[in-house]
């Protein structure tokens, strides 16, 4: 196998040009940043997803990549098919692409140098565990010990067990418990995680839009493909809750708002640890019926104004047993404590949205010029969930039909005194000072509040 045959000391016709491993490791890890290394590893997971679900327009629904990165430990795991024994033995850990390697269709990472240089960059010791259809096995490498031997370049495969394994069981876990000290320092920086999350959302947006969920340090990354109308007349809800459930911590992020009118997309979307458990739900499960009350709307008759409603709930927990999903992880289990908590929150989130949609519906018979909500909503941009600010409840406000008449007021005053007042009123510019002094005077003289 990969053994560099040493130069025969007695052969005076040869010079030794074989690399030392230390030099090699140094070269391949020199120009890579930790965040790039991690992104490369996620690329490898996505390649796994592509091998598992080939085709022009694959759905990655149900596939998940989990990244945990902190001072003590780095772990990336996926349920994307695992690395096959054959690929592991011949290609995956080879430095450079073997000539006869057949790459994954549309692959992003490809087994070139990405995974190895990421591992060497970050780890003093790492292990890779793969469960694929036919086998499961582990590769554990103590980097220093491996580098000390310049002759043998092989990694050892351990715990090799024959399959078969079902698709649900397959996946790859890469674990580093002995981090390079500099890398550990980097991972511990408070800004590192959020920045990495932003990078992942951008780099992996296509895979995420196809349903791949990526979780970073226990929280599901919000896909940029999910969007709500924001501004003009309506401001969606975004609220985060952290609840103790059965002794573990449950993080819930809820978004409720409106988007384009589409019956098939309207309703609640519930994600548990990144997996979409419920899609466009308008049933009792999400409390829909207890919100749409009276007037016979409990009957199957559909009300068009609700086709704009979109709600997203992301539930994450390190302890997946507290999540409100059923045993097959395909639906919500109403008996769970987390569900009983969630349902109240969903109802609370839906009600202001329904209030808005009813008001919007009320504009149907108005003249076009008076449809301020409809107009405003049409103008409002669709904004990715990540860019939506926190707000306790959906808020809406018809904009003034036409701005009231405005007047200019200009005056000069002593700079010294103006600066004193500017500081006192917390104004940053003279125009702002002008507005503040007017408002102050108006409120005190006219007493309209």
């Amino acid at each position: 196998m990969a053994v560099f045959v040493p130069t025969d000391e007695n052969d005076l016709s040869k010079v030794d040009a074989s690399p030392t491993k230390a030099f090699f490791v140094d070269i391949i890890t020199k120009d890579i940043q930790v965040d790039e290394a991690i992104l490369d590893l996620v690329d490898n997971c996505i390649d796994g997803a592509k091998r598992l679900r080939p085709g022009d327009n694959p759905s990655f629904s149900g596939l998940c990549v989990e990244v945990d990165a902190n001072r003590d430990r780095f772990c990336i795991s996926d349920n994307c098919g695992g690395i096959s024994l054959e690929i592991a033995r011949k290609y995956a850990f080879k430095f450079g692409r073997a000539a006869n390697f057949v790459p994954t269709d549309r692959s992003v990472g490809q087994f070139g140098v990405g995974m190895k240089r990421a591992l060497f960059k970050m780890a003093k010791e790492f292990s890779v565990r793969s469960v694929e259809r036919d086998h499961s096995f582990e590769i554990t490498v103590d980097v220093e010990r491996w580098a000390a031997d310049d002759i043998n370049w092989d990694f050892d495969i351990t715990n090799l067990v024959d399959g078969p394994h079902s698709e649900e069981e397959t996946g790859t876990t890469l674990l580093i418990e002995a981090l390079d000290p500099e890398v550990a320092e980097k991972l511990a920086e408070p800004t590192f995680g959020p920045a990495l999350g932003r990078d992942m959302r951008v780099r992996h947006q296509d895979a995420m839009a196809r349903g791949l969920s990526i979780r970073l340090n226990g929280a599901t990354l919000l896909p940029t493909s999910l969007r709500l109308k924001l501004g003009e007349v309506v401001w969606p809800m975004r609220k985060e809750f952290i609840d103790p459930v059965d002794g573990s911590s449950l993080t819930t992020r809820i978004f409720a708002g409106v988007a384009e009118s589409d019956r098939s997309k309207a309703g609640w979307y519930v994600f548990c640890n990144g997996r979409c458990i419920l899609e466009a739900d308008q049933s009792e499960t999400t409390g829909w019926n207890s919100v749409i009350e009276g007037g016979g709307v409990r009957t199957p008759k559909y009300h068009n104004q609700f086709a704009r409603f979109r709600g997203f709930a992301f539930l994450d927990s390190i302890d997946s047993s507290i999540l409100p999903w059923n045993t097959t992880k395909t639906g919500l289990d109403p008996e769970t404590a987390a569900y009983r908590l969630l349902i109240r929150r969903l109802i609370g989130a839906t009600r202001p949205a329904i209030d808005f949609l009813n008001a919007l519906d009320g504009e149907i018979d108005l003249a076009d010029a008076e449809k301020v909500l409809t107009d405003g909503l049409n103008r409002a941009p669709l904004v990715a969930l990540t860019a939506i600010p926190l707000r306790d409840a959906l808020f809406f406000k018809p904009p003034p039909k036409k701005g009231p008449p405005m007047s200019w007021i200009r005056y000069r005053w002593l700079t010294k005194e103006a600066n004193v007042l500017k500081a006192e009123l917390g104004a940053t510019t003279y125009p702002e000072l002008g507005e503040k002094t007017f408002k102050f005077t108006y409120d005190n003289v006219i007493e309209d509040l």
Partner: protein, 318 residues
């Protein structure tokens, strides 16, 4: 809420006045935090009577009044009528405003509706319940008249209830709500059950049993100024605070009602002269032969209600 404010002058509703005064007596008993640190959340309407009372009687500073109007002119009228600067006016449906209020701090919430029980009211109640701090006092007022037009009206009303509260209507028949008391009992039972369920659901995942909350009903009023009304009030208490709740001694209030037996507010029909005569003989006004000229029923009502009687005069109370 502008609508009802225009219908009846609040100052001419003696039973409503008594109810407010009794509720303030109940609020006063809260021992979970200094009462002046509580927040009061209500529907102030144009008169803000309850707000003035809680501010004056309990020194509560933090007050939120919810008004369901989006009309700028109406909003202006509310702002102009706001009697105390501390009142934070929030315009919008209670469904939209309540989720934006943080009920994890001690609050007294009075959802003083003036229409019949509906799902949106119980949804409001449930919204408060999810996060309500231990020691939260919550009251709900709704109209509770027996449905008009006899059996036919009761049938229609029951059909609506069945749609909105299928679990609570069960095997009920129209006759079960034809009578005002029966109707009120159904409403109390429904509110009580949904509130308790909301609290239990919210607490289902709490592993420390002492963090779980119980709901204690403390008031169940029925009264009638024009339309028949009813109010149910509860205190939400974490188990670790059970002894604090006991210390509040709500049961010492003569109008304390923990179950479906209502306290019916009825003002004595007595003249100002009779009031003075009765007051001078307190506490014993039911027995003395010197008062026999005042009908027994009025004396009994006086004994119960004299502290809560409004004083009317031609002087504008500010």
């Amino acid at each position: 809420m502008v609508g009802t404010a225009g219908q009846i002058d609040y100052r001419l509703r003696p039973h409503k006045h008594a109810e407010r005064t009794m509720l303030v007596d109940a609020f006063r008993r809260l021992r979970f935090a200094p009462i002046e640190s509580y927040r009061y959340v209500g529907f102030g309407a144009l008169a803000f009577v309850d707000f003035k009372m809680v501010h004056r009687a309990l020194a509560i500073q933090d007050m939120v009044s919810i008004e369901d109007t989006r009309d700028p002119l109406e909003q202006r009228r509310f702002r102009r009528n706001k009697p105390i600067g501390n009142i934070d006016l929030r315009f919008g449906n209670s469904a939209a405003v309540l989720p934006s209020i943080d009920f994890r701090r001690h609050s007294i919430v009075w959802l003083d509706y003036d229409n019949a029980l509906s799902r949106s009211m119980t949804n409001d109640l449930e919204t408060i319940a999810v996060d309500a701090a231990s020691g939260t006092f919550v009251a709900v007022t709704v109209t509770a008249a027996a449905p008009r037009n006899g059996p036919q009206g009761a049938k229609d009303r029951l059909a609506r209830y069945a749609e909105e509260f299928p679990d609570h209507v069960g095997g009920m028949k129209p006759i079960d709500i034809e009578n005002g008391l029966q109707h009120a009992k159904f409403i109390r039972r429904t509110l009580d059950d949904l509130l308790k369920k909301a609290v239990q659901d919210a607490d289902a995942g709490k592993s420390d049993a002492l963090d779980r909350r119980d709901v204690y009903q403390v008031c169940f009023f029925r009264y009638k100024d024009g339309a028949a009304m009813m109010t149910v009030a509860w205190v939400i208490v974490a188990r670790r605070d059970a002894t604090i709740f006991a210390d509040c001694q709500f049961n010492a209030l003569h109008f304390y009602r923990p179950n479906d037996e209502s306290f019916d507010i009825r003002m004595p029909l007595v003249t100002p002269y009779e009031i003075r005569e009765l007051e001078r003989r307190l506490p014993d006004v039911a027995g003395p032969s010197t008062l026999l000229w005042i009908p027994q029923a009025e004396r009994a009502a006086f004994e119960e209600m004299h502290r809560y009687m409004p004083s009317f005069g031609n002087v504008e109370a500010i």
